[in-house]
Amino acid sequence: MKTSDLPAAIPCAPVYDGWASKEIRGGYTSDLLSDVMSKAGEGYALITIQAHKNTVAVASMLGLAAVILCNDRPVPPDMVEAARAEGIPLFSTSETQFEVSGRLWAALRGDAP
C-alpha cells in the first residue's frame, strides 16, 4: 500500500498537494510525540490529533510515510508549511483515531474494509 492509496482506504483528504508517494509499512497511533519518537518507524503512517509543526519534525526524523490528522483538527499554517518543506504528506479526516487505525490495519493486512 502506498501513501497515494490512503484516501481509498480511509475517508481522508490530503491537506496539500505535491508530495511524493511512499510505501506504507505500518502504522502508529499516539498523541504524545515523545512516545511516537520511541515507537514509530520508517515508512509508518502516524494517526494522531497532535496538529503541531513538531509532528512534522518527528515525522521527518523517523521517515514516516504519512501523518493522518483525525477529528477534523484544524491544521496550523506553519505545520502545512513545514510539511511541504520536508515532503511529509498530511491527511485530514473527520474520523477518530480508533476508526482510522482499524481501517489502516485492515487495509495493510489486505482485508476488505
Partner: protein
C-alpha cells in the same frame, strides 16, 4: 545584588486538582514560613484568586506575581505571569472563551473555589478549568507574550503535560525561562534559562522546589510591584539557580 528566593508555580483551591486547604491565605503564609521572597499564583487556566492572593501577600510582606498555568490544545502546560492582578485577570478572561464546554462534576474532578483573603468562598465556577484550551502552544505563548507576560513552559520534563512528552521537543518560543523537575534536562532546554518550581497543589508542597535569582536592588518598583523586566534580564543573564544547584553538596550519591 540581592539573592531572591522565588517560586513561580503554585496552585490554590481554584484549581480542580488543588487541595481545598490551599487557599491564597495559606499559600502566602506557608511561603513566608518557608523563607520565600517572591511567589506566583498559577491556577489552571484562571487567575480569579489573584485579588485574594495580592491581599494575602501584602499581609505577609511577600512580593507576588499573578498568572495562570495554561493548558495548550496539545495538552502541554505553560506559565504566564504578570506583575499586576488586572493584567492576569484580563488574560484569564480571554482564556475562558477558549475553554471547551465539558461536563464538570466537582465530586469527580475536584472543587474550584474562588475565595477572598479570609478563605470565604465567593464563587464556584462551572466551567471545568482543568481542560485544554483550543489554543495551540505557539499561539498561546505568543498571546501571553504580547500581553507582556513572563512565559515559562512548566515542568517540561514531566511525563504528563510537559512540553517534551507532549510535543517531542521544546519548540522555540518567547520564553523567559523553562521550568524543569530534574537537572538532567540540560540540552533539552535548548539554551533557555532553567528554573525549578514547587507546582504546589497541597499546603505541604509550598516551598519544596524554589529557585534563587540574583536581582538588582530595584527589582520592585515604589508601590511594591515586581519589575518583570528586571526578572527577564536576570534570567537571560544566567542568574537563576534551580533548587538542585542550591542544595548542600552530595549526600553520598
Amino acid at each position: 545584588m540581592p539573592l531572591v528566593r522565588a517560586d513561580l508555580h503554585n496552585h490554590s483551591c481554584l484549581s480542580p486538582c488543588g487541595s481545598l486547604d490551599l487557599s491564597p491565605a495559606v499559600l502566602a503564609r506557608r511561603a513566608r514560613d518557608r523563607g520565600l521572597d517572591l511567589v506566583a499564583l498559577t491556577d489552571h487556566n484562571s487567575a480569579r484568586n489573584a485579588p485574594a492572593f495580592r491581599a494575602c501577600c501584602r499581609r505577609e510582606g511577600l512580593a507576588a506575581l499573578y498568572g495562570v498555568e495554561a493548558t495548550s490544545a496539545e495538552e502541554a502546560h505553560v506559565l504566564a505571569l504578570f506583575a499586576t492582578v488586572e493584567e492576569s485577570l484580563a488574560f484569564s478572561e480571554f482564556l475562558q472563551g477558549h475553554l471547551p464546554r465539558l461536563p464538570y462534576d466537582p465530586r469527580l474532578l475536584g472543587d474550584q473555589a474562588v475565595v477572598d483573603a479570609e478563605d470565604n468562598v465567593l464563587d464556584l465556577p462551572v466551567l471545568y478549568l482543568g481542560a485544554a484550551l483550543d489554543l495551540g502552544w505557539d499561539e498561546l505563548c505568543l498571546e501571553a507574550d504580547s500581553r507582556g507576560a513572563l512565559v515559562i513552559p512548566a515542568h517540561i520534563d514531566r511525563l504528563a503535560f510537559g512540553a517534551l512528552a507532549q510535543l517531542g521537543f521544546l519548540p522555540e518560543g518567547p520564553y523567559a525561562a523553562v521550568e524543569a523537575l530534574h537537572p538532567q534536562v540540560r540540552g533539552e532546554a535548548r539554551g533557555y534559562p532553567v528554573i525549578s518550581g514547587s507546582d504546589a497543589h497541597h499546603p505541604e508542597h509550598v516551598g519544596r522546589r524554589p529557585f534563587v535569582l540574583e536581582l538588582p536592588e530595584d527589582w520592585r518598583s515604589g508601590d511594591g510591584t515586581v519589575r518583570l523586566e528586571a526578572l527577564r534580564e536576570a534570567l537571560a543573564a544566567g542568574r537563576a539557580r534551580p533548587y538542585w544547584e542550591t542544595l548542600p553538596p552530595s549526600n553520598g550519591r
